[in-house]
Subunit: 130 residues, 3 copies
């Protein structure tokens, strides 16, 4: 598997990583197939959603912040249980098709790193499947 890093600037933010992934697909063994995308973290996540209008990801992240507040009478002393809950709901892995070193996504789709406990330096792994 290959990896790259992303520095996230805010506590809660969806960052479009579609081009960062596309530019690294050439390092995989085959030029077409399926790519497994993975974050080895427990307070951020990966999702596919619209990356054309940035208001969409802003609405998603704002909704999650409102419904899963940072202060909520949690037990975990680190103070970031909201981030763990959000990561469990969104998920930390993706499997996506690619063709000729480009993700085969729908017209409005992009891949987002969802930061829920930033700012941090996050690692993203890419691995080829079949």
């Amino acid at each position: 598997m290959i990896s790259f890093s992303v520095n996230t600037g805010e506590r809660n933010r969806m960052i479009d990583i579609t081009e960062m992934i596309d530019s690294r697909l050439g390092s995989l063994e085959n030029t077409s197939g399926f790519v497994f995308i993975f974050v080895p973290h427990t307070t951020c996540a990966l999702t596919v959603n619209e990356n054309y209008d940035p208001d969409v990801s802003a609405d998603i992240i704002e909704f999650l912040q409102k419904k899963i507040p940072e202060k909520g009478g949690y037990r975990h002393r680190e103070g970031n249980s909201d981030a763990h809950i959000k990561a469990a709901l969104i998920g930390t892995t993706l499997l996506l098709p690619y063709d000729e070193n480009k993700l085969s996504l729908g017209r409005w789709q992009g891949v987002f790193l969802c930061e829920f406990d930033g700012p941090r330096k996050r690692t993203i792994y890419l691995g080829q499947i079949s």
Copy 2:
């Protein structure tokens, strides 16, 4: 990858597509293995849940409608941010095992297309893995 279309009749609705998938598995290269299922859309999703009692999917969709309202002070001008949020929470891809051209699911499980911004014509892609 092969694809097929589903016309969804309502704004919010879970549609059982298990048989639509089973009937197309014969078009994949192998008769057994894993099938990747994917919607190239950002306001619908895919999930596995009970397809025996239709009240289950009705309860899921009603819960999501209640907790993620259509009008919620969102920024995105298209007026369907609720659908994007629901799609991010449920997910737009699935990987499932199949055997002899039939999904290998649990007794009560079926695959659902979750429409959150219908009615629309939705495309579903199927791709074989290993």
Copy 3:
């Protein structure tokens, strides 16, 4: 695919199954690759999150119980619609990398079976991909 069972002791509980999986990876064909993890049930789920501090999974499960109550005016007569909703949000399958018969996870990550309608005996399937 190989399988194993887990007896869950409570109605809502996240159970760390990382070691149960690791100890069975040696039964797969290859010593490295990707493992598909699957529950054939509709009222429990699988997720990856922190397994170092047990307060994290306790906070996640408590949050879900509070936001998705057992009694909520649901239609499904079996009385466990909350469990179906939680399973739809968390997901019932995972795909994860492993190396030399051990899951390749982040330092704080573990795999959890999320029981939402226990206590029950649950089956977990493991299948190798590429």
